[in-house]
């Protein structure tokens, strides 16, 4: 299985084909419904986001609390389609890619192509497995949103499948 280390270069991204299984290692940022809504408000108001979007990979997820001695609780992907309305603008701002589950809109696929991005499908429902692949977790923004806050995760060998590649390919 192909191993990917973040951040991804455009060469890395161009080498990915929809349908191939990968193991992802490196830093990703969690954000789901409420965090996206707030990011959009920041952007609308011209406020600087409290974290770097350019080159980042967003993981659509809201973790369980970590048990003592663990870096994270269970943390599988959530349904990506709810973020359809937010993803194209973030990709245009330089977001490298997303990890989630399930199909996204044609607008998102277009934005991925346009920006040489990528969308990975993690396996929905495999929360315990993904939680164990997280080596460190730190809340870096919007802490009031609890599980919907933005967490900076260091992950190792995160199993996923390339869902949309930058050439317009799709696993769905």
């Amino acid at each position: 299985m192909k191993k990917l280390v973040l951040p991804l270069s455009s060469g890395d991204i161009m080498g990915l084909t929809a349908g191939e299984s990968v193991l992802i290692s490196g830093v990703i940022l969690t954000a789901r419904d409420c965090a996206h809504k707030r990011m959009t408000e920041y952007i609308k108001e011209g406020k600087e986001l409290p974290f770097e979007i350019k080159g980042s990979v967003i993981y659509y997820a809201g973790p369980c609390p970590a048990k003592p001695g663990m870096a994270s609780g269970s943390c599988g992907p959530t349904t990506s389609a709810r973020m359809d309305v937010f993803a194209p603008a973030l990709l245009d701002m330089g977001l490298c890619g997303m990890i989630g589950k399930g199909e996204m809109s044609d607008e998102v696929r277009e934005a991925i192509k346009r920006n040489t991005g990528v969308y990975f499908a993690a396996i929905g429902g495999a929360g315990a497995l993904y939680g164990n692949a997280i080596k460190s977790s730190e809340c870096i923004a919007f802490a009031d949103l609890l599980s919907e806050a933005v967490y900076r995760l260091e992950v190792e060998d995160f199993p996923a499948v390339v869902a949309y590649d930058c050439h317009g390919g799709s696993i769905y």
Binding site: S21, C64, S74, G76, A121, G124, A126, S147, I171
Partner: protein, 279 residues
Amino acid sequence: MRRIDTGIIEQKIYEMARHAGVNLTRPCAEALDKACASERGAAAKFGLETILKNAQTAHDMQMPICQDTGMAVVIMEIGQEVYLEGKLLRDAVNDGVRRAYADGYFRKSVCDPITRVNTADNTPAVLHTEIVAGDGIAITYLPKGFGSENMSRLYMLKPAQGTEGIISAIVETVRLAGSRPCPPVYVGVGIGGSFDTCAFLAKKAITRDVGTHNAREDIAGIEREALKRINALGIGCQGFHGDVTALGVSCEWAPTHIAGLPVAVNIQCHCVRCEKETI
């Protein structure tokens, strides 16, 4: 008359919630095993293998099998010979849920529908009570994730659409859901009743064990035919294309009005977590 202290119910709910958050039901685990063995799609098989590995990890490490530890749905059949004493039943249920979600390190996923502010303790639970014969209480506990709940639908069919209309509605719901609800799904279907009871029947249907059939032969026939057509869609595990899109279809029914044929389709993801206890 039998006196039951609601404190006993609270403790029961606590234990059921703790167990459900970490474990699949045995029939669901068996159905997933079977699906993985027979799946011919490579990516779908990878998905099923990952799901099985996850179930083992969750059990071994006693951590939530899915981070969406759900809204707590409680169905309680209370014998009419029972006299409940102690704190309010609703409070007992919520206190049990609150403690379980804190002690189990479960995610708190309940919020205000308008402000979206999280209640921070996963309460209130969804509590359905029915008064039945006897002096016992039967409790069903179902932590319901919303990736699948979001893909559910309710149809008000015309009586003339009959059995074919019911099957088409079930298959259409799964087709439109596509990859989003975490297939392979378990499909709960309510047939008949009114707008509200139909949806409740669909919810009750997913509390029935995967692989079982309705006692009525004509309804069981709908379950079998719908499952066959769903699996012919080829959506597969996670939408990766494959042979197994649903683990089962479970229908419950109730008499309805002469003018109507309500059909509710409640989607449950592959992570079927459901506990049943009696007091």
